[in-house]
Point group: C2
Chain length 117, copies 2
């Protein structure tokens, strides 16, 4: 039982495979002007992509961010990757916000979830 007053933290669930996962790990620069606004806008925008399943994000105190996006299939991920506003954000990220980043795109073959009874 939780006695947390706020909404419970709920990571993206284990969907039935196959589906796609994109793991984006980024190290930030010290120039973060406009970054959080753009991230919030991207979070809204990706929800409009048909086949988008969900996204989780976490960050270490020393500036490593991990964002994991889940998509029903490669077409859904391609639609997101090539979205014009998302592409503009990617360019700005390279120019200003990220010291480095890595993207791993993968097909999920197996998944499972556990929830405490």
């Amino acid at each position: 039982m939780s006695d947390h007053p706020e909404a419970p933290v709920t990571p993206v669930e284990a969907y039935e495979p196959p589906y796609c996962v994109a793991v984006f790990t980024a190290v930030r620069t010290e120039e973060q002007s406009g970054c959080s606004e753009t991230e919030a806008r991207m979070e809204d925008l990706v929800k409009n992509v048909p086949g988008f399943l969900g996204m989780d994000h976490a960050q270490t105190p020393d500036g490593l961010g991990i964002t994991v996006g889940y998509f029903r299939d490669a077409d859904a991920l391609t639609e997101w990757r090539t979205n014009a506003e998302h592409r503009a954000a990617q360019k700005r990220g390279q120019a200003e916000w990220y010291r480095s980043y890595t993207l791993h795109v993968a097909g999920v073959e197996r998944s499972h979830g556990f929830t405490r009874a």
Copy 2:
């Protein structure tokens, strides 16, 4: 240029596909006794698995942790999954440390990295 005195943050690099990724998202309970020690032990232990490529971890202030492990192939991941000490840690995690978790196991098909010039 960085003037950080500590070691630079370096996420796992983009390897040449195919390789495997395991995304583990977990929501913690309030009972965390022994958890960080076990995590540190698991971080040491997984490095001995042949085909282990690396691991990134980050956590939100409200208790969502994302751990992403990278392995050369399914055999390497199976060796880690079935490691006796790791299995004991998994059981203890279910019993004590995690309110819920989700595991997504996937085959990486595409990857790329960016590093600021």
